[in-house]
Amino acid sequence: MTAGRSGTVGRPGLVLEVDRSTPPTMFWHGDGFRMERLPVGSRVVYPPEPAVPLSDPTAAIREALENPLGDSKPLSALLRAGMRLTIAFDDVSLPLPPMQAPDVRQQVIEAVLDEAARAGVDDVVLVAALALHRRLTEAELRHVLGDRIYDAFAPTGRLTQHDAEDHDNLIHLGQTDRGEDVELNKRAATSDLLVYVNINLVSMDGGHKSVATGLASYRSLRHHHNTHTMVHSRSFMDPASSELHSSNWRMGRLIRDAGVKIFQIETTLDGRSFPDAYGFLNRREWEWKARDRATFLGAKTALDRLPPRLAQTMMQRTRSPYRLTSVQAGEVEAVHDRTIDVVLNQQRVVVEGQADILTMGLTYLGPYNVNSIMNPVLVACLGLGYFFNSYIGKPLVRQGGVVIMSHPTPWAFDPVHHPSYIDFFERVLTETTDPAEMEAKFEESFATDPWYIHLYRTGNAYHGVHPFYMWYWTAHALDHLGAVIVVGGERRAVRRLGFRSASTMQDALEIASDVVGRDPTLTHLHTPPLLMADVR
């Protein structure tokens, strides 16, 4: 199946109890960092160190294609002359940060195309599985696929991006037993073979979600991208307890039963999220060497002094030195079972018990602002959506507890990528921050607004309904928490989000004491690099 020691974990994650000898803890703070001294007795959850990558990724990919998992023939046996082949791939929201060239998708798709060429397949179309995300720019497509693929397919229109509003190119496959519509990209669903190439950065990705979400329409997505599903996904990162997962699996089985033949290729990366130049980001504070301290101080000073725009550009240029730790191909569910094992094995950290307060430093980057601005809605989504849900079992913070997030939360939006976010912020959040209420009152009008649809289809804009999804992503956290505090954020923006604002961590802890009492327990999530807390 896979060559080499796939997913062999480096030093495991760590739960450190802060004592008087513990140096201050680094917090991400958007395009910068903060150093905070956490109260003695606090616990800091550190991610495992990067796993050992595959020594020969190219060989591993070819081996995976020829030795598929589950009920599937090898790729070469599935390809024949005269067939219609569609290759779908994850968009620019993965991985984070974008990886140094060559991208894993390029490596995998080149291997697939080699096989297709050998079999004499002429009708090949590539499709970026955008769902309702923004279209990729040419530069981004070239980065993801490499110049060879781009130059071979883009000029003839055979490199496409999924369009969830192109009703001529959608096909309704039916409804699941729960009445969920399944409407997919027609080219992909009617091909003789659909190859899906994924990057499984977190445990929410991949499996049936790749096709059932990535190539679906709004009509189909709204069945699981809604408040109800998100409140019942505890967490959406834990496949076993995720309603989001269950819904996608129901749809995936319907797709399979409808006769869509999918050959799924999933990859995992080693967790080396930041280049050596930012070595301190991959290291625990007390192990920082003089060089780490110097680069930290240099980077922090520069980022603090630079105009926000420049600081943002500087950070957005970061390319991660990710390397492949495993690749598996074949039947969707068998492949994904293996993938999830590897991901959890690489990211799991066992944490004993819940805390009253969960603190987290939020980065400059989330899945939805690659090469863009992290607007306040995305800040909320990253903290209360992604980081809060990075758990198996029960949340890191108790019911009614407090989350303290550190992020500058500037009142800034990217008008090209996030036009509907601006209106969401001005029109919806001024009226309500309750996910269910906004879903009932506003979602429809944003989802069908012709201007947003136009920008989504022809520009590089997220779909009009996307900011709602971001807010639904926080629904479980909002439902669970007693208060949310943002440290160092722009006050007006933080208030608009319905959160409380504090200028320092000490102030935030004071504010939190109103909710959780004067002697709370505290857990800090020292991420990224990513981790999954297994809370017992």
Partner: protein, 306 residues
Amino acid sequence: MRSRLVRAALSKVPAGFPWTAPTWPTSLPRPAARGGLGAAYDTTWARTPVARAVRAALLEAVGRPVSSLVASPEVRGLDRLGELEAPAIFVANHSSHLDTLLVLSVLPPRFRHASIVAAGADYFFDRGWKAVVSAGLLGAIPMERQRVNRQSSEMAAERLAEGWNLIIFPEGGRSPDGWAQPFRAGAAHLWIQSGVPVVPIHISGTRAILPKGTVRVRRAPTVVTFGAPVRARGGEDARRFAVRVEQAVAQLADESATDWWSARLRASADSTPPLQGPEGSGWRRSWALPANDGRSRSDSKRWPGV
């Protein structure tokens, strides 16, 4: 007023981590060697001919004049070494950083420039620059002293096998109060294993010059007494051998404090004053210290009588 201003200005300067090195959380075990430092430090470079020549030149041109100026050593018992050939292990009591330089200065020339010094890996080799200074100027090799560690002991044995002489202070650190600490069995283990003769040495007076915990050097006379080489008996275990070497040094101490004959008498009556001083604690131990062992370093004492 001004000092307050200065202090106010200084308080604005960012201090602490990450400007300074991080402290280590107490709950986590600290790895012994980081990045080839500590016991893992490779000292090979310090034994190359060039390094040896530089070291020898420095010792003759700077080290020995300084040591004779500061410590004016009186050397006794060198004749006991007789025809002893390298390699040998020189074992001494330890109360000052000066001991190393002093021993190197008074060793007979055939040993002097072919000796290496066992130095605490956690103290002399914990930082890159300290390791370079220790290995380069003293010819030190790292010795693990906190825990049992085969590595440093084996490395020392290899050096002895190569013909190097080894200077070692088996107390595992400088004396905190002027009295010796028990000799470590770990060091004796090395002596037995290498089969090299052990030369006991007693040093007195260096505590008056530079005791532990100070940085200021004062002049004072010293006495270095060499004893006859000792070898482990067949079947003798490390612990016993350590005690026997310690007794040999104690007898030398007795000899340097009184005279050879009365020391021999007490030795044969098994009543040599213990090197580790009397039982008990506090003032009684310091009260019992020999007069020249730096009980008082007050300047008034040194004022010439008028």
